[in-house]
Symmetry: D3
Subunit: 141 residues, 6 copies
């Protein structure tokens, strides 16, 4: 019998400052490529993070996995590092990366995939980050 | 010529009471596993249900299927059974199942897949249930 | 010089079960007056609570009052008593009251007005409770 | 080494009038098939359009593609043709098509797929159109 | 003893076509004053209507007034006249009025105030109409 | 005859960095009073601004005032100064003020009240700023 896979999603939020720029670009080049997102004095966002995990339903609990456990793993390894922080200067898993939403999604995927690897049958399916009400990014590994 | 598949989604809502627990667990064990969701005096939610159906576009109507028809099938076979009800005690398709959102999604998928089987070329693609603004579940069959 | 009054609002959420009925009504009368909201086996909602407090801006902090303090007062005196609870059976400040959203708003206003009375210059302006996406209630004292 | 594919989505909006009907149907037949959507004097919607594009992350910019560029392509080729327009009478890419959301999604996909074909490695993944808060359509090509 | 006044709000929705223009203006003048909203071939919106009614809480029911009754009065006298209609051509209470959201709010207030005048102690407090996610209008009589 | 007053609201958005702190406080004191909002390396938000203007309806246009005009005044005098900026360091009307949402609302009220003073019969009724989905501030002058 094939197991029925179910996808569960937990939403978390963080507020952070960032700046899009390259040190090897001149100020003019940064402005040309990144527009006002390159402001040297920073700007920021209310980011919404949606973590989707897939796996079979545990017949004992009716859960793919306990959402409280998922939430505290996300909080410890992702939210606490980003919330009320400067993404360019203070977040270990973003060191050396451009602080774009694309890179943020890829890095959060890697962090959570590693943290969830000990849960049998569970895997991270998608990391979705909503930066503004008009823009979001998804990464499926 | 390959047909173009389009996915259409209908959103419906229901308000229900439920409780997460196992009769073969002690009260302490239920509290440990299910937390405050195990409250013996119940709690409840405004559930949002998203039913996604896929199929080719009917050249006569421009529709995958008439959304009014889809909506009334969902209402008759799902919403009327859940709305202002106790999921543990009053819903035939949840009998003997833990009242988790995962199980609810699987059961609603089965009910609607059966009801829509007489529509040529149409199939249920996804059942998504939003339990709170921070948690949702998806099942694709 | 007149002080500038500013209104600040904190949103909190709770999920609860309830039932609208009167013991002195027959089942038929309850059904007639309260409809499916009178279901003896309960139903429930994701309630959204908006607490608006007004007062002058403290020149030292730029705050009307610290929102963390406001949030923890709301959590201790309101949310912890309602969340994952049965409003009819388990909430002290609703004892002997019909579990309508109107009564809930009035009682929460009284509770918070008392708790905030020790804050100089601050008063509760409005309690707003959203029961579903189509219904909400406001009480201004 | 396999490239990491990331999906980025841009949300745009347009307000338009339309009518669902067939010239080869009588008024009665149109009413029977399309209901009040067949009103000869039109009705309208606030449509929300979500354009999802997929591609690898450019190591120089951290972007799949610049969202400002994507937004202006969508505005020029889609929004400017639809916004504050009559979909049945004024939109070139809808000529001869029933003005259903399904057909709108397919046509917008074709338009944007052609406009984005000159961007290396980028392709349109999905066109999603939300017609009301209860109905949306997705087309993946 | 002063009665406690509570405000209850019911949300309803309608989709309609309209056009902003004056017959005594030239096409150029209409375009200058009303912009693309003057398109002679119409455009439309998903309008959201919020009707706020105030009154004392009935001690027998815990209600200001039964929301089902309020909803059906709004549906009969307002929504059924506007939904899937052309506001300029088909709505009796808008005859001879410019189809602006301001005028719509005033007219709906008058209609509902009259319909609710037979309910003891109840009055319409506010009509709020959301035309797009960025624009709304309120009228308090 | 008394004129009918109508309230119209325009929503605009800006993304900015800020920090809550006092120069005359030690780092420890700032952390104690302002919590993680005092992070010296900044954080940021997607702020939503709702500007409510009241006035009589112009019988020629059906408008309290043209929303395009209102929107461009808000953009020129408020949004362009705040969007993608550092509220503490780059916004002239916030110089010397603590960068709290309360102060932001008061200052924006003053700026817009002055800019709209030349419009006959129109006045700013309320400035509402939503900082996160759980917190907002209103100032009525």
């Amino acid at each position: 019998m094939t197991e029925k896979l179910v996808y569960i999603t937990r939403r978390e939020r963080f507020n952070a400052a960032h700046r899009l720029f390259r040190e090897d670009f001149s100020d003019e080049k940064n402005l040309e490529v990144f527009g006002k997102c390159s402001n040297p004095l920073w700007h920021g966002h209310n980011y919404t993070l949606l973590v989707t995990v897939k796996g079979p339903v545990d017949p004992e609990t009716g859960f793919v996995m306990n959402l409280k456990v998922l939430s505290s793993i996300i909080k410890e390894h992702v939210i606490d590092k980003l919330d009320h922080r400067n993404i360019n200067l203070e977040v270990d898993f973003m060191e050396g990366k451009l602080a774009s939403t694309e890179n943020l999604a890829i890095q959060i995927f890697e962090v959570l995939n590693k943290e969830l690897s000990s849960f049998n049958g569970i895997s991270v399916h998608c990391i979705k980050i909503q930066e503004t009400e008009n823009n979001f990014v998804e990464y499926f590994g």
